[in-house]
């Protein structure tokens, strides 16, 4: 590839994307004018999501291709800067965009494990993997395992692991797509999933990696604008400083001061908080008494309790002066009463837990590993470290991210592109902790202490949409909001920021479009990883190595369609918790891939037996620990060294390294040609360089 061609290509790209960004901002301005003219919110939401989805589909159609190198690796001419943006969009999922700030709001310092893990992992990518994989220069991660360790067994394990972790992760993304489209357009969840999926498919189906790359760049622009604009506004509102990352230190100080006032019963506000907390403590005690009685008396207790509630309703009905609200509440209590002992136990345990949380003092946002005693604090610290390590190593092992570094023009560009990736990703991760603190300040100062008759408009709006996201109840009937009376769901923070900042509805729609861009771009990359593993590694490399180009691409596209429909079907069954799926994907990838990939480059002695042993051992250890500890599977075995199930990867990584090293040392060193391959990979350019045969 001649340099002048590439530099013309780069300047062309810069012009296109500058125009595109300008056009997009113009579009937002146009919509806000429409809003001022009285176009209803629902309409604006439709236009916003519709236009962005059509835009992605349009880019997909423009980038359609029938060339193998274009389809799998975007022709290996993506400039570092743009690959950085594409990695950014590929990387930042619905969990980062919508969930992260909420996690930080709810768990304070301890939530920063996600911020550290999801950025620090790129140091490992840059130093240990990206340049070497680029030099290797094939199409998929199993390709590398197959070539480095020789034979189809390492490749097959790689394919299985890639599919396992990508599929787990893609379910979480499609779930996010369904949630966002259904919340902002009123379509039902299933329809939302299929509309979103349609746009993913048009894009990757026609143009593979090439289309996905250029769509991801466009999606990055939307998602970062959508994330930053409301936070900047909020920062100006509270501090007068438009750079939230700098301004929030001062706000954090004020939040900390507020926490102390609210926790101090000698102040009037603190006294009211204490009053509400004692009510929750009382409630918890009542529920625990119910539980105790249930354990002692069994079903008969349930029947007598139910009879008591029914009698209360009858008594209320017989009186003339009964408040209809009280009657309705009594009726609801009868209707909601659990039908059998198992349901009752589950329901009451959950209630007791919720009441217990509400009866404790306000958590200090900036305090690391807070806990009542040294043992709790040490345990939290240990789990924080374990989670950070798992997320980092998982980052450096997820195939859909590593694959993106095959698309740059050279090793040099691959190194630079990790820098740009981390730069673009950090923009969001530096902002999320600021957003959490700014939103907290708003809640602690403006919402707490306000009167129930004049709640801020965003509070009443969200409380009427979804009680799990926003719920305020006057527990002690003093007509004033106390912090303990407010329940906030994590996802609310990002979704409601535009309204908290007092921005028009158009910005809320923009945030929804940003969340959708984050989920779609990640889903794009993941689905491509899955279908490429199947079509390239399984079909072309193992089943029919003589297949003509046309058939290879046909198979790739057919598989993509199949994978997409299957993923949508699984998602529509709502298999569970997003955070569970995301955590599982990272741990699985870290355990299966990282040891074999890193040692494959840095240790020539690593051989096939070691790789097979390490990958399988790591993967199974990780899966086994998840299976016995995640409440989802119902085994609930005791934890190993108190490590939370989300960090299951830590055992997998360890076993993976031990497996590769032991397996390699116990068997013969790899052959000369494999050792030569390692040398080829280590140097950006050698005189004796091999020429990849499909290039």
């Amino acid at each position: 590839m001649a340099a002048p061609g590439q530099s013309r290509f780069v300047s062309q790209l810069k012009r296109y994307y500058a125009l595109y960004t300008g056009g997009f901002i113009g579009f937002v301005v146009l919509l806000s004018i429409l809003e001022q003219m009285g176009v209803p919110n629902k309409m604006l939401g439709y236009i916003f999501l519709g236009v962005t989805v059509l835009l992605y589909a349009g880019i997909g159609i423009l980038s359609r291709t029938s060339d193998v190198a274009e389809y799998y690796v975007a022709g290996r001419r993506v400039p570092a800067f743009f690959n950085g943006m594409a990695v950014g969009a590929d990387w930042m999922s619905a969990a980062s965009f919508i969930g992260l700030a909420g996690t930080l709001y709810l768990s304070g310092y301890d939530g920063l494990a996600f911020v550290l893990g999801w950025t620090g992992g790129f140091v490992l990518v840059a130093l240990l993997l990206a340049p070497y994989l680029r030099k290797f220069g094939q199409y998929t991660i199993p390709d590398f395992l197959g070539a480095r360790y020789g034979g189809n067994i390492p490749r097959t394990i790689g394919v299985l692991a890639a599919i396992l972790c990508s599929f787990t992760y893609v379910i979480a993304q499609i779930y996010g797509v369904g949630l966002i489209t259904s919340r902002f357009t009123g379509l039902d969840f299933g329809t939302g999933v299929f509309v979103g999926l349609g746009s993913i498919l048009v894009c990757s189906f026609l143009g593979g990696m090439r289309a996905v790359t250029w769509t991801q760049v466009a999606q990055y622009v939307i998602l970062i604008l959508a994330y930053m604009i409301p936070v900047i506004w909020l920062s100006v509102k509270h501090t007068g400083n438009p750079i939230p990352q700098i301004a929030y230190g001062y706000v954090l100080e004020k939040v900390t001061a507020r926490e102390q006032v609210l926790n101090d019963p000698s102040t009037p506000e603190g006294a009211r908080e204490a009053e509400v907390r004692s009510i929750f403590r009382q409630r918890e005690k009542t529920v625990r008494d119910h539980l105790k009685a249930l354990d002692a008396e069994g079903e008969s207790y349930l029947a007598s309790e139910k009879a008591r509630l029914v009698k209360t309703v009858a008594d209320l009905q017989s009186r003339h002066d009964t408040d209809p609200k009280v009657l309705a509440a009594a009726n609801r209590a009868v209707a909601d009463f659990p039908a059998d002992a198992a349901t009752a136990r589950k329901k009451w345990r959950r209630e007791a837990e919720a009441d217990r949380e509400k009866s404790g003092p306000v958590m200090a946002h900036a305090e690391p590993f807070a806990g009542p005693d040294e043992a709790t604090r040490d345990n939290k610290r240990k789990n924080f470290m374990a989670l950070v390590l798992c997320l980092m190593v998982g980052t450096a092992a997820l195939p859909h991210i590593l694959m993106r570094f095959y698309t740059t023009t050279s090793v040099r560009e691959a190194r630079h592109s990790v820098f740009w990736s981390l730069f673009f990703i950090s923009l969001l991760y530096l902002t999320a902790p600021a957003l959490a603190v700014l939103a907290k300040y708003d809640v602690y100062t403006l919402l707490v202490g306000s009167s129930f008759s004049e709640l801020p408009s965003w509070v009443s709006a969200w409380a009427s949409v979804d009680k799990t996201l926003m719920n305020v109840t006057d527990i002690n009937h003093d007509g004033i909001v106390q912090l303990a009376e407010v329940t906030i769901g994590g996802d609310l923070i990002v979704l409601a920021t535009p309204e908290i900042a007092g921005l028009p509805y158009v910005i809320t729609a923009l945030v929804a479009a940003g969340g959708l861009a984050a989920a779609l771009s990640t889903a794009d990359g993941l689905m491509l990883t899955i279908s490429n593993s199947l079509s390239h590694d399984v079909y072309y490399k193992m089943i029919d190595p003589k297949a003509p180009t046309g058939r290879r691409l046909f198979i790739a596209k057919a598989l993509l369609l199949g994978v997409a429909v299957f993923a949508a079907y699984i998602t529509s069954l709502k298999p569970g918790h997003i955070l569970f799926l995301v955590g599982a994907a990272f741990s699985l990838a870290a355990s299966a891939f990282f040891p074999a990939l890193a040692l494959g480059i840095f240790w020539k002695r690593a051989n096939k037996t070691g790789a097979v042993l390490g990958m399988l051992g790591g993967l199974f250890t990780c899966m086994f620990y998840m299976y016995i500890t995640y409440p989802f599977f119902g085994v609930n075995a005791p934890l190993w060294w108190d490590i939370d199930p989300i960090s299951a990867g830590i055992f997998g990584i360890l076993v993976g390294f031990v497996g590769v090293i032991a397996g390699s040392l116990l068997t013969a060193a790899p052959g000369k040609d494999l050792q030569n391959l390692v040398d080829q990979v280590r140097y950006p350019s050698l005189d004796s360089d091999f020429k990849p045969k499909d290039y």
């Binding site: 130093l127 305090e367 040099r412 990790v418 820098f419 950090s426 280590r682 004796s688």
Partner: protein, 87 residues
């Protein structure tokens, strides 16, 4: 294939650089994190130092590490003549 001495030296230099940068990465992430409770009382730019490091400082250092690696390796590639020529 026979590697020349300069190739071996290039690889040693690369390993050295990688090792140093990984050590910084480790200290910033895990050592600072381990002592987070002890760093709370120190204030930096209005933040408790431990909070600042995990929310901002570490991230900026990561970006710098990756940037420096790319810059340094470019120079090393040229010095040892293993850079890609036709780009």
């Amino acid at each position: 294939m026979q590697l020349k001495d300069r190739h071996k030296q290039y690889w040693r230099q690369n390993l050295h650089l990688t090792g140093v940068l990984l050590a910084i990465w480790f200290v910033v992430t895990f050592v600072v994190g381990w002592f987070a409770r002890d760093l709370q009382s120190v204030t930096f730019l209005g933040f408790p130092l431990s909070f600042y490091m995990s929310a901002q400082g570490a991230l900026l250092i990561y970006v710098a590490l990756v940037g420096y690696y790319a810059y340094r390796m470019d120079k090393l590639d040229r010095e040892y003549e293993v850079h890609e020529r036709d780009q």
